[in-house]
């Protein structure tokens, strides 16, 4: 077995995912709430309400509790001198290798929730693909971006 990458992403990333899961769930709540009110207006059978409540509970549990936890547990990355290795996935584990000489550029980006928690996401682009390391501490992300771009400059090669 090949060793899996070692570094985890920030623990705060879990909180961010839970928050965005909560926002998703809120929209799901709106839709299901609409269905429930329609049930009242048109006198549809009441089991629809039961299903709606259940569906919401399941949705909220999945997207606020279970999936962020699994996702966070799985997320690993490692930036080595010659390559970047990523491992992620909830039900399907994906492991990705990106050689340094293939990296074209590195970006950091930050949404409003990430900013509040002083986190940032790094994207690494090759000529054909884009890879993401989500929710890193801002300083770490900056450092990493600098580190990668320095390594890329060293390992320059045609396409």
């Amino acid at each position: 077995m090949i060793l899996e990458p070692q570094k985890r992403i920030s623990k705060k990333g879990l909180t961010v995912w839970r928050i965005s899961g909560a926002i998703h769930s809120f929209f799901a709540l709106l839709v299901l709430g609409g269905a429930v009110s329609l049930t009242f207006i048109f006198d549809w059978p009441s089991w629809i309400i039961g299903i709606a409540v259940l569906a919401f509970a399941l949705y909220a549990y999945l997207f606020i509790m279970l999936i962020p936890t699994l996702r966070w547990k799985r997320w690993r990355y490692e930036v080595r001198e010659n390559e970047i290795e990523l491992q992620h996935g909830v039900f399907i584990i994906k492991r990705t290798l990106v050689p340094m000489i293939r990296v074209q550029h590195v970006d950091t980006l930050q949404g409003p929730i990430l900013r509040k928690y002083q986190l940032a996401t790094i994207t690494v682009s090759t000529a054909a693909t884009v890879h993401e390391i989500p929710a890193l501490e801002v300083e770490e992300a900056e450092e990493l971006r600098y580190f990668i771009s320095k390594l890329v400059r060293v390992a320059d090669e045609d396409v």
């Binding site: 077995m1 090949i2 010659n82 390559e83 290795e85 990705t96 693909t129």
Partner: protein
């Protein structure tokens, strides 16, 4: 050759016609829904046409190009003057084509592609004389030759070897077995079946039986004829497109020419080749025929053809190596593929059934008596799943990774390790239990990427590929 040159005047007309073509719909709307005052409409339309022509001529007047200091310098723009300087080293390929309007004057359209030009070509010279185009080509190749100061190259340069020319028989074979024809044929069959379904229903009206059934016959005959015509049209279209398909090689480019009405010439530098793909579709495979594509970097993304260029449109699987290996020595195209393990067959079959399930359940529930016929889908789908399993495979040979897989068309993709942009190993819970995993490798193609992905291989093999690709173990 430093004085600014204009394009051939015909390019003014070409650009006018293009403009007018785009204006047709607003024009029609204007005429149909416009005011009742015919005179005003007439004048307005004439005005627009005159304006288009004036702008076309001005555009032509302002467009100049020249070769200067190792750059192609283009200046253009009617209201806003623009200058575009492209260094020769940045130019990936020149794409020459002859449209119907260019042909009578012996002109060519030159598209200049650079690596960064996503969407459309970096620059287009709509109509210049062939001698001019050749001059540009020579300037380009001499500029490139001086970069890589190789003594022998100047001697080799003039040598052009033809490695493939399509024969009339192959052209016919190509056209009649292309995917488009398959679609048309299956549509015809579906239609005929549709009408057969109607016949028993019509029989209820026994008095009218003769008349109607003959009517149905006439209709289905007409439909069949329509499809036959469509098929022949598709056939002729493909034949015109690929007539005279020739692949030549000069010092370090492949030059592909094809087309009868519109001649196209394409230059692919050998060092831009990212991967080789051999495709065998369902109609061609039984005859041992396949198509060879080149995935190459650069080129414009809007033209789907240029990202994946056909190298050999149709050829016997066993002669490909003989044709290509002298020119692509770093690729080993004749390779024994290691298949997926037996235990992944059941996963392939299961997946096939799973995809069909919604269709079957849907039609059984909603199309009452006939819905059960959809159960028959299981047979071809299972067959396809079995073929997918049989074709899944991989092989590492030195620096080359070969992946073979089938969606509907069987693909074998040959990639060099230093051309693979990233590698993904993928494993689900159930795959893990069966010690299976999937592998996915991406190479650059055009301005995006193209992937080869094989599902359910032996996990140990996939890990082997992963380790082979890893750059860390070298130290």
């Amino acid at each position: 050759m430093s004085e600014p040159k204009r394009l051939h005047p015909i390019s003014a007309i070409i650009s006018c016609l293009k403009q007018l073509k785009e204006l047709i719909i607003p024009f029609l709307v204007f005429v149909v829904f416009g005011s009742k005052n015919g005179l005003f409409q007439l004048f307005a339309s004439l005005g627009v046409i005159v304006l288009v022509f004036i702008i076309g001529i001005l555009t032509w007047l302002r467009f100049t190009y020249r070769l200067e200091e190792g750059e192609l310098r283009i200046e253009y723009g009617v209201f806003v003057r623009k200058k575009r300087y492209i260094p020769f080293e940045r130019i990936q390929s020149l794409d020459l084509s002859e449209g119907i309007l260019q042909r009578p004057f012996g002109l060519v359209k030159v598209k200049i592609e650079t690596a960064g030009s996503s969407g459309e070509a970096e620059a287009v010279l709509t109509a210049i004389s062939k001698s001019q185009a050749i001059l540009i080509q020579q300037a380009l190749s001499s500029a490139k030759a001086s970069v890589s100061f190789d003594e022998e190259e100047s001697i080799k340069k003039e040598q052009e070897i033809t490695l493939y020319k399509i024969s009339p028989k192959e052209l016919l074979l190509l056209a009649s077995t292309s995917g488009g024809v398959g679609v048309v044929l299956s549509a015809v069959i579906a239609f005929i079946l549709q009408f057969e379904e109607f016949i028993p229903y019509e029989k209820v009206f026994s008095g009218l039986e003769d008349f109607i059934s003959s009517g149905v016959l006439v209709v289905s005959l007409l439909v069949f004829l329509g499809f036959l015509i469509a098929w022949v049209a598709a056939l002729i279209g493909t034949m015109l497109k690929y007539a005279g398909f020739t692949v030549k090689k000069n010092e370090d480019d492949f030059i592909i020419t094809r087309g009868l009405l519109e001649k196209r010439q394409l230059t692919i530098p050998l060092h831009r080749i990212q991967a080789i793909r051999i495709s065998e579709n369902l109609i061609r495979q039984p005859f041992g025929l396949c198509t060879v594509y080149i995935e190459s970097a650069g080129g414009s993304a809007t033209e789907t053809e240029s990202t994946r260029e056909m190298l050999l449109p149709i050829a016997k699987r066993n002669v490909i190596t003989t044709i290509l290996s002298p020119y692509l020595p770093e690729y080993n195209l004749e390779i024994s593929i290691l298949s997926a393990p037996k235990r992944s067959l059941k996963r392939y079959l299961f997946r096939g059934l799973l995809y069909m399930l919604p269709i079957i359940v849907g039609s059984v529930l909603f199309i009452k008596p006939w819905g059960y016929l959809s159960l028959l889908i299981v047979i071809p789908s299972t067959l396809l799943s079995y073929l997918k399993f049989k074709d899944a495979g991989w092989k590492i040979d030195g620096e080359q990774l070969t992946l073979r897989y089938r969606a509907i068309i069987k693909n074998t993709i040959f990639m060099k390790r230093n051309r693979i942009q990233s590698l993904v190993m993928r494993e689900s819970y159930f795959q893990n239990k069966n010690k299976l995993a999937s592998i996915e490798a991406t190479v650059m193609s055009g301005s995006g990427g193209t992937r080869g992905r094989v599902i359910d291989l032996e996990k140990k093999d996939v890990e082997g590929i992963y380790e082979w690709y890893s750059y860390s173990k070298e130290k």
